[in-house]
């Protein structure tokens, strides 16, 4: 990862170490083979994407959504939510009316 933020795509070069770090951020276990393949595929895509470096984008307002609606409110009334049993019946594991997961801290060795 760069010391100072990159401002142009062509100034960056994705490495296997970047891919390993990004995979950890994305919670994706990748095999060594997948890391190698992903590094070369992303590198060739990013080379292509450097086409936008040619554009003068100074002062252009970023566009985050196409149909600006802000502060969408509704009346503060109670409505039925989803049926809890129906939702939990589809979960990989559930207990006592909740989703059940493996230990989060202090996992047994």
């Amino acid at each position: 990862m760069p010391d100072t933020p990159a401002t142009q795509i062509s100034a960056t070069r994705i490495t296997a170490a970047d891919v390993v770090k990004v995979a950890r951020l994305a919670r994706l276990d990748l095999t060594d083979e997948e890391i190698g393949r992903t590094t070369s595929q992303l590198a060739s895509m990013l080379d292509h994407f450097a086409d936008i470096d040619a554009l003068d984008l100074d002062g252009v307002e970023p566009m985050t959504q196409p149909y600006p609606l802000a502060n969408v409110f509704r009346e503060d009334v109670i409505v039925d939510g989803l049926d809890r049993d129906e939702v939990l019946a589809e979960a990989p594991d559930a207990a006592e009316g909740r989703f059940r997961v493996p230990p989060i801290i202090g996992a047994p060795e």
Binding site: M1, A6, T7, L28, H48, I52, L55, Q65, R74, E90
Partner: protein, 476 residues
């Protein structure tokens, strides 16, 4: 080769009692029985439920009630639309077997209008792809030539309508996923304005781009379906609050005096057979009284890059919810973090992993400005270009795809090559505008060629008028 099964005609006949919904459903199930094995449009065919729904429609008619504007119309739902109690997979192993606890708003609206759900259709996993080859459950084949792709990502719904398995399909379009398969399968496909149709219950891919729309065998049918599924929904905060005018009502208006824009600076050239159809359409629209004007879209060629940074960035965030906790697959591990990584590694296919990686990278510290930040500015430039073009033109006419349907396997080795097949559809999604594919004859190998009518935000009425005129010209 297509058994033409017009939804408007079916609904009219069922409502007046001259045709039974049950007979309509049996005829479609028979076609599914004949060709589905070869085409693989569906992840799941709901024959029993369809028969029961048809019987209910027939009972209503017999009792003197009106089942609604889509009475007895068989529909095929892309398998990223939630159906309560019915498996909804996104063609991914990570959701295999999961049954949603609620219906998407569009599913509720179709049922209330008397439509019959025939099944859930195949797609590129999580709608990421342009050929329906990236499905965990196998490729969908083009009904016109089964050695070729149906397009994607809504290839299953497009193929289902083209093969006469359903008279209406629903799909979702994030970068062309309705229009491109409609083009390659020779059916009508509409991506409405962002916010026109509620997305409640559509499993999200890229939330600032996704929109639901119909596949049909006629422009009139597409208008009929949009009149049913469009409109405000308090369950979708991006849904447009204002009421939409009926689109069925505008179809008989001609195109005299309308200004049709032709893009003079389109980036990659379409194949000659596609270009020839575009020129024929221009001639037909001029003949029908439209004025042809030149427009320029200088940032059009940069839209692909903006899209393939923005959509994966949004997807990397949206797909974080598939973590083995609440639905679908879990791969057991000693602790929760290890369970997340193992579940996602086992559950997602290669293309989905690639896009999650690309999106996470584009959003990561140090790269955000160069990638995601600049992509959002390019998006603005694309939208600004359209705004300028629509000062001169009421609609814009471009090809839907640069080529006719390509052979299965032709583009699977090179992701970038596959991405380029969306070059004409992507800019519309960035701008949030409507666009529709209208079949306009055939090209190489007798395969369908589709043309796109594009319009500005909420320009559906004028888009449908031009679409209907093109359809009339194609038939003559």
């Amino acid at each position: 080769m297509t058994a033409t099964v017009d939804a408007s005609a079916i609904a009219a006949a069922v409502r007046e009692g001259s045709t039974k919904a049950s007979d309509i459903v049996e005829a479609h199930l028979a076609r599914i029985g004949e060709r589905e094995e070869e085409i693989h449009a569906f992840n799941l065919v709901l024959a029993d439920a369809a028969r029961a729904a048809a019987a209910a429609v027939d009972d209503a008619v017999a009792a003197g009630q009106d089942p609604g504007p889509l009475a007895g119309v068989p529909v095929a739902l892309k398998d990223n639309l939630c159906t309560r109690g019915v498996p909804t997979t996104c063609s991914s192993k990570i959701l295999d077997g999961w049954r949603p606890p609620y219906d998407a708003t569009v599913v509720t609206k179709l049922a209330a209008a008397g439509a019959i759900t025939m099944g859930k259709t195949n797609l590129d996993e999580f709608a990421m792809g342009s050929s329906t080859e990236n499905s965990a459950f196998g490729v969908t084949r083009n009904p016109h030539d089964t050695s070729r792709v149906a397009g994607g990502s809504s290839g299953g719904s497009a193929a289902a309508v083209a093969a006469g398995f359903a008279s209406v399909g629903l799909g979702s379009d994030t970068g062309g996923s309705i229009r491109q398969p409609a083009g390659l399968c020779g059916v009508v496909g509409v991506k409405p304005t962002y916010g026109y149709v509620s997305r409640f219950g559509l499993i999200a891919f890229a939330s600032s781009l996704d929109q639901i729309g119909p596949f049909t065998t006629s422009v009139r049918d597409a208008a009929l379906v949009l009149d049913v599924i469009g409109g405000h929904d308090t369950n979708d905060s991006t849904s447009i609050p204002e009421a939409h005018p009926s689109l069925v009502d505008v179809l008989d208006q001609d195109v005299k005096g309308l200004r049709v824009g032709l893009v003079t600076d389109l980036p990659a050239g379409a194949d000659p057979d596609v270009q020839e159809r575009l020129e024929a359409a221009v001639g037909a629209l001029r003949e029908a009284g439209a004025t042809i004007v030149d427009v320029q879209l200088p940032a059009f060629g940069y839209a692909l890059t903006a899209y393939y940074l923005i959509a994966p960035a949004e997807a990397s965030s949206n797909l974080a919810r598939f973590d083995g906790v609440r639905y679908g697959l879990r791969v057991d591990a000693a602790d929760t973090n290890a369970m997340y990584g193992a579940t996602r590694a086992a559950g997602f296919g290669d293309e989905v992993k690639r896009r999650i990686m690309l999106g996470t990278y584009a959003l990561s510290a140090g790269y955000y400005d160069a990638y995601y930040g600049r992509a959002l500015k390019v998006r603005r430039k694309v939208a600004d270009d359209f705004d300028r073009a629509y000062e001169k033109a009421d609609v814009i006419l471009v090809p839907t795809s640069p080529t006719v349907a390509f052979p299965i396997g032709a583009k699977t080795e090179d992701p970038l090559e596959m991405y380029l097949s969306d070059i004409y559809t992507i800019p519309t999604n960035l701008a949030g505008h409507p666009g529709m594919n209208v079949p306009f004859g055939t090209g190489a190998g007798g395969l369908p060629v589709g043309l796109q009518v594009l319009a500005p935000t909420l320009g559906e009425p004028v888009m449908f008028r031009v679409g209907a005129a093109l359809e009339r010209a194609a038939a003559s």
